[in-house]
Amino acid sequence: MGRKILFITTDQQRYDTLRCNGGTVARTPVADGLAAAGIRYERAVPQSVVCMPSRSTILTGQHPTTHGVWMNGVPLPVDAPSVAALLQRHGYRTALVGKAHFEPYLDPFGRFTENSLARLGAETVEQPWADGSTGPHRGFEHLEFATHGTAAPLHYTMWLWQNNPSAIGMYYPVLDPAYNVNGAGGGATGAPQVHDNPIPREQYHTDWVADRTIGWLNSLAAGDDWFCWMSFPDPHHPWDPPKSELSRVDWRDVPLPAGYPASRAEREAILDAKPRHWRMWYDGTLVSNYEAPKTWVPATLTDDQVREVNARNAVEVELIDEAVGRVLRAIEARGWAGDVDVIFTTDHGELQGDFGLLFKGPYHVDALMRLPLIWRPAPSAAVTPDVVTRPVGLVDLAPTFSAIAGIEPAGWMQGRVLPVSDADAGRRGFDSVLTEWDSDLFGVDVHLRTITRDGWVCTAYRPGYVHDGSEGELYNLTDDPLQQFSRWSDPACAAIRSDLVADLWDSQPPARAEALELQAPV
């Protein structure tokens, strides 16, 4: 019997939403407890700041350039490498419960397994694997899917239909009548994607994900080794937690985020000093990410709207924390507590008011790139709790799962087993991490390459719709923790810029042989 793995992801959660990371709004005692008993990472960086590429990196252990999912709407091939398949082949029982999103949601042709599995009533389906064999879909022998609300025909939607059909319409409608991401506002302030959801808390998707995870765990034999990816759709927008829970955080009491410059003039001056697409999105003249509502203009954002979005987000974070606590108690009840590794992270961050912006896009700053990451090794492994400040990436998760299971990380994995201390990270050369952005939405293309190293974040732009390829951003994370003042054009930083840019291009991962096509907007 080996170590078991509970892998917890949330969706679009900022680093500073956890108390253990300095957050002040949401109460997160469960995550804080895991951090105190394990390793807390202070500079965990995604390889993409949108869902599908980032989640594909987690599963494959590869950078987006290599696995090929270059933007949302590009499906990860079913025979892509998968750490779940590796574990399953070595005898692990494997499950993914909650949000997968390796395949597009908008799928009227029903082409993608994620959208058809609930209808088929099957736990999984047999698919080709990267090694030429076949096995359960992406290595998961049990799959139960949920996403934000009820728009997609996933297991959670079907479950609601059976248990409380009236709740289907209680969620915020994520798409507007033109099938664009909805920009309609709600709540007390009219903030976009804020909505009062009367759904009973126990039927909300966060609790459903925890319930179904517990259900699967309880179906296993005591001696099974298992890998369970419990994937919460929150706190990704829409911000529509159960109305009954809103009193947890009064939005009027929420402080404005440090990254939200106090005056409009200050916000706009900061944006004007950045590459053009920042200000163009703020003014509503350029939308480069489908998930940013086309009809919403960030310049209209008010202080109160920022407060309310942060309050709703905090409620969702608290519900997740409590759901995780429930699952941990179920694991303890099975007698597994000493042998379970718990890893908690997210796929990418959320702007949440920083720079006067919400949602996400081609903006490589901490709001989107600094992630919560906690590894609580199995107590039986007797790893000393610590804090790692050196940069690590989500690309390092797949080899870490392999190592926990006692399996040599596969050759196709591009990351390394996560370090357990700064000393360990230093010995093994955890010096830098890469992030990339490519998008092409209705002719608007944007291409960024970023390296995080030595306390700097350096982004170089490739030519695109509004960039000529000469642009860049350079932030000193110590002097400018909010990344408000780029040093890209500062002569005093010319040497470090040149060194980082050279390292960035020298470190680019190999590209997938055949480019994958965009097949849907998300």
């Binding site: 597009p104 042709f109 029903g110 209808r119 096509e517 097949q519 907007p521």
Partner: protein, 138 residues
């Protein structure tokens, strides 16, 4: 109205490729996600794997120019024109261009993406079949 264009080179003659494209009822054999296609004159009704039924109007089916055009007339779509053109690409190869003009724009991406995937499936099917004898001799 958005335009999504996908194209692919298939190592078969335009005549061979057109045999699949020009038969409007055959679309369910090479377009993943379309499970049935019923043709009645210039009308075609497709059913997708998700259970959606979409009525279509066949606008052009020209074996000389090897152009097939159709409109989806389902209510979720304001305007649509799908166009498939097969041209020679030398050495018994064909270029197949599949264009989707559609409003709303988002649906153009969804349909255009599915069409691109269908071209890959069409190539896979045709290239896995033995080369027709006449073409081999030629």
């Amino acid at each position: 109205m958005a335009l999504v264009r996908r194209e692919i080179v298939i190592a078969r003659t335009p005549e061979d490729v057109w045999r699949a494209i020009g038969d409007p009822a055959a679309i369910s054999t090479w377009f993943p996600g379309i499970v049935t296609a019923e043709v009645n004159g210039a009308s075609r009704v497709i059913t997708t794997a998700s259970g959606l039924t979409m009525p279509e109007e066949i606008v052009t089916n020209d074996p000389v120019r090897r152009v097939f055009e159709y409109r989806i007339t389902a209510p979720l779509i304001k305007d649509h024109l799908g166009s498939i053109e097969v041209t020679g690409a030398g050495d018994d190869r064909s270029m197949v261009r599949y264009e989707t003009r559609c409003e709303p724009d988002t649906i153009a991406l969804v349909i255009g993406g599915a069409c691109g995937n269908a071209l890959h499936e069409l190539r896979r099917q045709l290239e896995s079949e033995p080369v027709p004898a006449a073409a081999e001799e030629a």
